[in-house]
Structure formats: C-alpha cells, structure tokens
C-alpha cells in the first residue's frame, strides 16, 4: 500500500478474535450515490432517536418547506425533526414504525410542483460560537449518530466537566457485510467529512484525530488522505483489518489505541470519543449550507434485490418506494432486513418509513435465510475464538437453555453487545446470541424489580 499523506500505519491494525463473514460488498461498492425521485407521501415518526420523542410544532393542513423544523426536541435527550420535502402536513397520527409498533408520526404530502430546494436554516457561525451554543445548534439540526443506534449527537458531544477528550475517532469501518453507504460517503463527501471534523474539534478539542477505515475501502482511504493533505487537516487515517465486528466502538478503540474500555464505562472514561462518518458530513452540511438532517445515504442491496444501489434518501420515504426504485425484490426473496445481516432487524412489512437510524435495507434470498438443523453443543470452542469480548458463549448457551440467568450474569453476559459472531460460527447452529438477548432481558427485568422492591421496603 503506497499512500501519500497521513496514513497512520502501513500494517493494518485490528482487535483479537472476531470472524470473517463473506463481504458481499461488491454488489454495490462501486455504485455512486444516487438520488431517487420524490414520492407522494413521507412519514416521519416523532421518535427516531434514543430518548424522548420530539414534540410537533405544526398542525394538519399547514404548508411546510424542505428543511423547515416540524417538531421540537422534548427535553435534553431528544432532537428536532425537519420536513424532508416541500408539502402539506397531511396527518399527525399513529403510523407503523420500523420497529413494528404503532407510534406517533407526522405525514407529509409532497408538493409535486415544488422545486424542492432546501430552505436553509439559521445555523449560526461555528467560528464564533461557544460550546453551549454549538450543542444546542446540533440539537436543533436534528443530528443523531448515523451508525445505526441514532443516539442524539449533541448528548454525546456534551463532555462533562470532569472529563476530557484526548482522541476523537471517526468510524468508517463499516464492518457489516453488504453495507457500502459509508464507503461511498467517504469517497464522495470526503471534503464535507473533514470539514465536519474540523468544526466539531473546535469544541471538543481532541489532541488526536483519526479516521478508521477497513482496508477493503482502498478508494476511501486514498481520497480522504489526499483531501486531508490538501486541506492541511491534522487527521490520521488508520487502516484496519477486514474483520467483523471491527466497527464496534470497543473493538475499534482497542485496535487503534490498544486500550480496553472498562466494563460498563463509556469511551470518554478513557478519553475517547467516536462518531460515524455520516454524522461528520451532516455537521458540515448544517453549518455550511443550513441543511438540517433531512436525508441520509442508505445501501439498498442483497442477493434478492433487482439493482443494488447506494441512495441519498429523504428521511420518511416509505421503504417500499425505495426498494422499488432499486429494482424491487426478486421472487426468491425470503427476508428483508434493516441494517446489516449480522446485527440488523428483520422487517415484516415494507410500508414503513426510512428513519434517521436506517443504514441499509437488505433483501436476502432463500439461500442466506436457510434454516439449519440445531445440534447439541459439542464444545468445539469456535465461539470462544470468535467472541471479541472474550466471553464463553458455549457455557452461556448451555446456561441459557436451563434458564440459569443469575449464573449467566456472573459470567458477564451483560457485557455482550450482540455482535452475533458466536451464532455465525456455531457448527451446531445454536442460536446463541438470540438466547443472550432473552437472558439480558430477564436479568434487566429482575434488577429493576429488585430496585423497586428495595425502594418500597425502605
């Protein structure tokens, strides 16, 4: 690898353990980001982020403009919501959320005669802002982490007084198979990405800036490195090995710094902040163009999809419209997922909207969705060699089958972040991570109940 510029290491770094699923990225990694024609209706759930749902500030029948705020944040852990198109508010009612529940949402009828230019919002000048102003600005921009969890960005960037951020890492690993949205974003929006990092670092004041990219994204590494040199941006590009789950925060930090986040702590406890590449681009677009978070890049792909594509999609677009724009699902489609194949959620209906946390839509054929016969655990230890946080999934799996939740908690099942590497390798096809999700639910419930009872007895 002969790169100019600020490539941190020639030899790609990584964490220990992990797995190597087939990548399937070639389906869409060379397809430039497209835009799809505007559709008739957009549905915007008020709760698209972790935290309290936003509070609508529009009424039925009101005309709204593309980029206009339509809902305010409700409290600190919440963000604003904006209209993704010019149109009229059609309803504020319960609609099916991608998570399957009926939840409040705003439905907008698209104005077919509009030019659909973004109406710029008053973002303020980041060069003349103090930290609280910046924090409230990105809350107003509706910014959330675009990696998938959709945690409000301003909460993450509000560094408590007693903590400092020494290292800031932009996560461009995209270790999930199939997904190429971040890859394309890094190639096509490198300038905005670096600009976003520079704006953010005026406030978080990290000493070291990194962009972590798996080495299967050579073009992205090349482009970012060139742009960083020409902008004179003090950022280092860190090539990482192609291994799942390289993009998990804990794994990425341990690969780059060789440090472990203590159990139950946050990256900030070891002076690290991590954010997704999409979030950086969104910061730049808000402050430079006044465009709040009204669209995002989504990889629509899969072995059972007509035309795998990376699309810049307005938030709120019904999935069925998006999937049909990308060639529709083929006749052997067996499953449609949101997110990647390792950690994504299965989708049972496609009339739900794309939300801020949607990173990919995958249509898998019968072959990938095949059901395998489950055998007894033969203690082969493949799961032990796969688990990136050194749990013993074999033991945990046996305990789960007996319902020994307490014993599982003692064996640190609560540390499991459900990367599913254990289920992926298990030759006996035991649904290990699925068992762990159930166990974690029981353990949390029990802890909550005990807390409640203790409070009552005092």
């Amino acid at each position: 690898m002969a790169f100019g510029g600020n490539i941190a290491a020639i030899k790609p770094l990584s964490f220990s353990h992990g797995v190597h699923p087939e990548e399937y990225k070639q389906l869409s990694c060379n397809n430039p980001i497209e835009r799809m024609p505007f559709v008739a209706e957009y549905i915007l759930p008020l709760g698209q982020h972790i935290g309290a749902p936003s509070k609508p500030i529009v009424r039925k029948g009101q005309k709204v403009f593309r980029g206009q705020k339509i809902a305010d944040p409700e409290g600190f852990v919440s963000v604003a919501l904006h209209a993704p198109v010019d149109g009229t508010i059609d309803a504020i009612d319960l609609f099916t959320h991608p998570n399957g529940q009926e939840l409040p949402a705003i439905k907008i009828k698209c104005d077919t005669f509009s030019s659909q230019l973004v109406t710029p919002q008053e973002a303020g000048d980041p060069e003349n802002m103090d930290l609280p102003e910046f924090i409230s600005a990105i809350q107003e921009a509706g910014l959330v982490g675009l990696g998938g969890a959709a945690f409000p960005a301003h909460v993450k960037f509000s560094i408590p007084e007693d903590k400092t951020c020494q290292y800031f890492m932009v996560n461009g690993c995209e270790c999930e198979p199939f997904l190429t949205a971040d890859d394309r974003l890094m190639v096509e929006y490198a300038e905005e990405l670096l600009d976003g990092v520079e704006i953010l670092n005026r406030f978080i004041k990290a000493e070291k800036l990194y962009v972590a990219v798996e080495i299967n994204k050579q073009e992205a590494i090349q482009v970012i490195s060139e742009k960083a040199v020409s902008r004179n941006c003090p950022i280092e590009i860190v090539p990482l090995k192609v291994k799942y789950p390289q993009g998990a925060e804990k794994m990425m930090i341990s690969a780059i710094l060789g440090k472990e986040i203590p159990a139950g702590k946050l990256p900030l406890d070891i002076e690290v902040l991590v954010s997704n590449v999409g979030t950086m681009v969104a910061i730049s677009q808000y402050f430079r163009k006044g465009q709040p978070l009204i669209e995002r890049v989504i990889t629509v792909t899969g072995t059972a999809l007509g035309r795998p594509t990376n699309v810049m999609v307005p938030i709120g677009t019904p999935m069925i419209e998006l999937v049909n724009w990308c060639g529709g699902i083929t006749s052997d489609a067996a499953r449609v997922l949101l997110g990647g194949p390792m950690m994504g959620m299965v989708q049972k209906r496609l009339d739900v909207p794309v939300i801020k946390g949607t990173s990919g839509i995958l249509a898998l054929s019968d072959h990938e969705a095949r059901v395998m016969t489950e055998y007894s655990c033969i203690r082969c230890g493949r799961c032990v060699d796969a688990c990136p946080i050194f749990l013993n999934p074999s033991l945990l799996g046996m305990l789960a089958k007996k319902g020994f939740w307490d014993e599982m908690a003692k064996n640190n099942v609560m540390d499991c972040f459900e990367c599913a590497a254990c289920s992926f390798v298990c030759p006996s096809a035991i649904p290990l991570v699925q068992h762990f999700r159930v166990a974690k639910g029981f353990i949390k419930e029990k802890a909550a109940r005990e807390k409640f009872e203790n409070r009552n007895s005092v």
Binding site: S254, A263, Q347, S376, I389, L395, E418, P427, S428, Q434
Partner: protein, 332 residues
C-alpha cells in the same frame, strides 16, 4: 412481489457453512486410510473388528435415540466412536467382546449422559477401558503383522461368553511391552511404517501424522492439544533419557510407539471431552503427557495413554472452571 411471504427471525442472518455433522464426517474420512493400513497389516481380522465395532456403536446409538429420527446416528459421531474403538483393539480380539465394547462405549460413555455433547469421557476410550477391566487376557494378546489377508487371527471367532482358544499358541509383544519388561527398543522406521505388533491403529505413525496435519489445517482438531501432549511427552521422557539412556526409552520411541499418536490426534482432541478455554487446553495436554509417561515408565501397564486421557477427561470441567477467560474490560 407483495404476496411473497417474508420470514421473521432475529440476527444474524449469515451463517458459516461448517456444521457439526460435517466436522464428524471429516474425522471419519481421515480415519479411512488408517483403517486401510490396519487391513494391510492384519487382514480380515482388522475388517471384522472394525465392522463389528461400528455396527455395535450405531446399533446402540439407534436403540437409545428416543425420537427414532436417526439424527444422532446420521451425525457421524457414533461412527467415529466405533472406528476409534476398533483401532484400540488387538487384531486377535474376540468379536463378541468387540460388540460388548461398542455397547458399553456408546451406552455408558455417551447416551446415559444425554447424548452428543453431554458426556464427560471419550466414549471409545470408556468402552476400551471396560474391555481392559473385563477381559485383561484377551486385550493383551497381540499378534504380529503377517501377510495373511484372508484369515482370522487369534480368538476372533470365539463363541460369545467364551475366551476362545488361541490357535497360534504364541502371543507376540508390542514394542512398549518389550521396552518395559525386557528393555528392548524398536527401530524408529518400523514404528513409523507400522510393521510392529500392537492394536489396529497403533501401527502406522506416518499416516497418523498426515491425518493430524489435515485435521489441523481444516481447524477440526485444536492443534494446541496435540502439540501440548507431544511436547510434554518429548520433554518429560527426554529428561529421563538424558539421565540414563540404558534404562529409559528415547523420547522418539515414546511418541511413535503404542497409542500415543492415535490418542493425541483423535481421542484427546475429542471436542466434547476436552477443555474449551485456551489456557485449560494446555493444562489438559500437559496433564495427559505427564500421566502417559508416568504410567509407561513406572506404572504396572506398558501403555498409559488411555488412562491418561480418561483421567484428564474427568478433570476437564474443573479445568474449565479454573481457567476462565478474562472478559474484555474486566480486571483479571
């Protein structure tokens, strides 16, 4: 496209292709040449013993399979037990005893624990240990490889519940017995090629090394187990050899004679009965190595691999417990 039914489940939606039956069948395939060599040296006797052991194991597995869906018969694990049991027996062993060994191995070594994955002891070795205790004469009566391909040896055809009469009238000694009782060594080349007396599978060291290489390459057996046993045996017996080469056997002899290779490649590496933690695996391997050398040099028996492995099998749950892996982000 809308009437297409989509199936629901939770992540992950990708799965490595390796399955448990595939692992088992790979082991079976590597055992085929080993069985072939035993036919080359011991003729029809080898075939009859192998067939009997395999049939007895599959029959017992089927008998206790309460669903009668033959899942457990098809997964190949009982077949492995049968083949391995056969390979630990002397060529002239009565066939009815072989059958009993198979029933005990699968019955008491596996199904009473709950079937595949639940047992503490390696079923083939448990069956053999039972035979050693029940029929100590028959199991220590060896015949040398000869060119007779179509003749039965020793007491193969003994009537059930009878010891049978050893027509040959002679029983030859294995290299280990010669070493133990007479301090006579055996040529390394003979040990590698297998032209010595011994159990069906105790003969061709070279072939076992090949099978080991393949299984390690395919990541079916854990090389740490095989390596830790071999290294321990070589080091531990090497120390005594250096002290007095006249009394103690050379480390090479220790590795290539008897059932050590067969045990280190196929039996100690049994996934179910070996530890799962990286450190535990070395504790286990070193334990087997030391016990083998101790039994061979100072024990009452010429061969100690079987008991060494069974003893360490028994220690496996304890080893797993005391060699817990440190979880990411936790203090030791």
């Amino acid at each position: 496209m809308t009437d297409r039914k989509l199936s629901i489940s939770t992540a992950p939606f990708l799965k490595e292709e390796t399955t448990t039956p595939w692992i088992m069948w790979q082991v079976v395939f590597t055992l085929v040449p080993v069985v072939g060599v035993s036919y080359f040296y011991f003729g029809l006797s080898a075939v009859m013993i192998t067939l009997t052991a395999v049939l007895s194991c599959l029959f017992t597995e089927w008998l206790f399979d309460k669903h009668k869906k033959s899942y457990s018969v098809k997964d190949g694990s009982a077949l492995i037990t049968g083949l391995l049991l056969a390979l630990t027996l002397p060529p002239g062993f009565p066939l009815w005893m072989v059958f009993v060994g198979g029933v005990v191995g699968i019955g008491m070594g596996k199904v009473i624990w709950g079937g595949l994955g639940q047992n503490i002891f390696n079923p083939a070795l448990l069956g053999r240990a039972f035979l050693q205790a029940a029929f100590p004469m028959a199991i220590t009566t060896w015949s040398n490889p000869d060119g007779k391909y179509f003749e039965l040896r020793g007491t193969n055809d003994a009537f059930p519940f009878y010891q049978g009469l050893n027509i040959d009238g002679v029983s030859s000694a294995t290299p280990l017995a010669q070493m133990k009782f007479d301090h006579i060594g055996t040529d390394l080349k003979a040990l590698l090629m297998g032209s010595t007396g011994g159990s069906l599978g105790e003969t061709c060291g070279a072939l076992l090394l090949l099978a080991m290489a393949y299984l390690i390459y395919k990541r079916i057996i854990n090389w740490h187990i095989t390596a830790s046993i071999m290294l321990t045996v070589v080091t531990f017996s090497g120390i005594f050899y250096l002290i007095d080469p006249a009394i103690y056997p050379s480390p090479w002899f220790m590795v290539f004679s008897g059932g050590l290779l067969l045990g280190a490649v196929y039996m100690a590496t049994d996934l179910v009965t070996s530890p799962i933690t990286p450190k535990g695996i070395w504790v286990y391997g070193i334990g087997i190595g030391i016990l083998t050398v101790l039994i061979r040099i100072w024990g009452g028996l010429p061969e100690g691999v079987m008991y060494a492995i069974l003893l360490m099998n028994a220690a496996t749950p304890l080893i797993n417990r005391y060699t817990k892996i440190r979880t990411f982000g936790h203090q030791k």
